[in-house]
């Protein structure tokens, strides 16, 4: 195949498929083992400085925020992050200095809430580098190529744009149609965190609602840490095996963290905490504010349970449950003029 054009973005988290198969053979267990551990241990064990990390979910929806806070608490350094629609997760990881390089589909923004002051400042000042651009479909198809054990996947996005020019993709002449087609390289993140509704102690997971990219991401990951609202009995999994969306043999650690997506949304359980988001967006306008936020909510607490007390405890969590169920009006202070 003739290569017609090459993107100049840095090729990240790619492995030769045979090298990756060998890694799987040597590093991933197929036995049914109890993988429960604490969050502190899971983050300490599986996140190394300089790793390429990706979060399951979507920016602030079903994201393992508890893991994000733990990475910050452990002062992980020089991480590269998949900005695969990354919202609050990447903003706070950049603000705390854990992430200094990004591959961007969507980052530095807070969707409807506007732009992210802290991470934008970091990119504009040059303390965070954008190594490559990509689109959302492009990112999840990179994970899909990895999930299939392939070196690349052909797609019809990104063609003719600067998004392509700054990506790690290539355009070739498709030998079947004769038309140009965009080849996206596989992406195998070093470590992935996925937050789920429930799983058993072995890591068989159920997710309610949209899957987003997590079918693909779970298989693309080298190390996969699952945080879960609830650990359930193995029999409940086996009575409804069609509900298992991530099977145990992909999973390296299982961590029970109720409300683990806070301040994000956990579909059917709790809506995003827009009062907390407003506080962050306001404080993160200045480096001093960022420091104040982190001292208060991350470094100043021992663990995620203490954080949940600090953000308003049972009362706040009940309110977020009611908002999710459309039984209470949403308070969004950032929308007030």
């Amino acid at each position: 195949m003739d290569v017609l054009e090459e993107g100049k973005g840095e090729l990240l988290a790619w492995h030769d498929p045979d090298e990756h198969r060998r890694w799987i053979l040597e590093n991933k267990s197929r036995s049914l083992e109890d993988k429960r551990m604490g969050l502190k241990e899971a983050v300490d064990k599986f996140v190394q400085d300089d790793n390429y990390i990706a979060m399951g979910g979507f920016g602030h929806i079903r994201v393992s925020m508890a893991s994000i806070y733990e990475m910050i608490r452990q002062r992980k350094q020089n991480l590269i992050m998949a900005g695969k629609t990354a919202v609050h997760d990447i903003d706070i990881l950049i603000a705390s200095g854990c992430v200094n390089r990004v591959e961007v589909a969507y980052s530095f923004g807070h969707e409807l809430r506007g732009l992210s002051p802290a991470s934008r400042r970091a990119v504009e000042e040059g303390t965070v580098k954008v190594l490559a651009e990509i689109s959302n479909a492009g990112f999840q198809w990179r994970f899909k190529a990895a999930a299939m054990g392939l070196p690349f996947i052909p797609t019809r996005v990104m063609l003719g744009t600067d998004t392509f020019k700054y990506s790690s993709a290539k355009v070739v002449k498709d030998p079947f149609s004769g038309k140009p087609i965009c080849l996206l390289p596989a992406c195998y993140p070093d470590v992935v965190f996925i937050h789920v509704h429930r799983c058993d102690k072995f890591g068989n997971c159920q997710i309610d609602g949209i899957m987003i990219e997590d079918f693909e991401l779970a298989r693309a990951a080298r190390r996969l840490v699952v945080t879960t609202e609830e650990i359930i009995d193995e029999e409940r999994i086996r009575n409804a095996p069609w509900r298992t969306v991530i099977p145990f043999y992909l999973v390296d650690a299982v961590v029970e963290v109720p409300y683990g997506s806070h301040p994000g949304n956990m579909p059917y359980l709790y809506y995003s905490d827009e009062e907390h988001m407003a506080e962050w967006l306001k404080l993160s306008r200045s480096p001093e504010g960022v420091k104040q936020y982190l001292e208060n909510y991350v470094y100043g607490v021992k663990n995620f349970e203490e954080y949940l007390e600090l953000i308003g405890g049972v009362k706040k969590l009940n309110y977020l449950k009611q908002v999710e169920q459309l039984r209470a009006p949403l308070k969004a202070p950032w929308a007030e003029r």
Binding site: T85, S107, E111, T163, I210, A335, E336
Partner: protein, 259 residues
């Protein structure tokens, strides 16, 4: 005498954009105002508009404005809750009629920028990037863009070409391998509604909003906009539309509160 209905420009844009969407068609929706316009269409003239969200929501009955294209409102009472791969693949297959996007900059061929203002490596302003915009703009049959209009946004050349419009003109999309017969369809701003000339693929004015002059449109466009002899006036929002916007879709004023 007819009672004067008060509205802000965001409400006007949402109402004007919603009318473009046809019942029985599908729309791939981006964050913010596109969601509002789609939800409004669904609650007014297009009850069978198939609203699709890139993160996996298919055909929801949107109860109120989602903050994200992936939050639980995007698959409330939906026909299906699936994955991004599923949505993007069906877009690539040709199932998505409209792509509905926002933008920071646009040029005469409808190429849009949501990545950086200034240079890529040392940007004056870093914006979020493509998100699903490049995908929607590449794969949907017709792309609708909702954005503000002034000379910093309607520019001769976008600082970064995030999402393809007609690129350099007729035939350019097909030449680079994008799906045939796709491209930008409408641009809705606070001043009017633009379309694209069939032959040259250049942007042309279709209607101005009530009270807006052609001179204002020209003064807020940084490229040579085609202004045909016949330009209509956009229908203003009705009381019914405004009530739906304010009490059902965005009661907290997250988007329509900002004019």
């Amino acid at each position: 005498m007819e009672k004067k209905v008060e509205y802000n420009t965001t409400e006007l844009m949402a109402c004007a954009a919603s009318k473009i969407l046809e019942d029985g068609k599908s729309v791939f929706v981006g964050t913010g105002l596109p969601i509002i316009a789609s939800a409004l269409a669904q609650k007014t003239h297009a009850p069978n508009l198939l609203i699709v969200f890139e993160a996996g929501g298919v055909g929801p009955r949107i109860p109120m404005l989602p903050i994200s294209v992936g939050d639980s409102r995007t698959f409330y009472k939906a026909a299906m809750a699936t994955s991004m791969d599923y949505i993007m693949s069906t877009a690539q297959l040709g199932y998505m009629d409209y792509g509905f996007l926002g933008a920071a900059q646009i040029d005469m061929y409808g190429n849009i920028n949501t990545t950086v203002i200034g240079s890529h490596d040392r940007p004056k302003a870093r914006l979020p990037g493509s998100g699903g915009a490049n995908d929607g703009g590449s794969l949907c049959w017709k792309t609708i863009i909702l954005m503000g209009q002034d000379t910093r946004r309607f520019v001769e050349k976008v600082d970064f070409l995030t999402t393809p419009g007609y690129l350099t003109g007729p035939g350019a999309r097909e030449k680079v391998g994008l799906p045939a017969g796709t491209g930008p369809y409408r641009v809705v701003t606070q001043l009017g509604i633009m379309g694209f000339d069939d032959k040259s693929k250049r942007m042309k004015l279709l209607s101005v909003h009530p009270g807006v002059t052609l001179e204002q449109v020209r003064a807020n466009t940084g490229f040579d906009l085609i202004i045909p002899e016949k330009v209509t006036v956009t229908k203003p929002p009705t009381e019914k539309e405004l009530k739906i916007l304010r009490t059902e879709i965005d009661p907290a004023g997250m988007v329509i509160g900002k004019s």
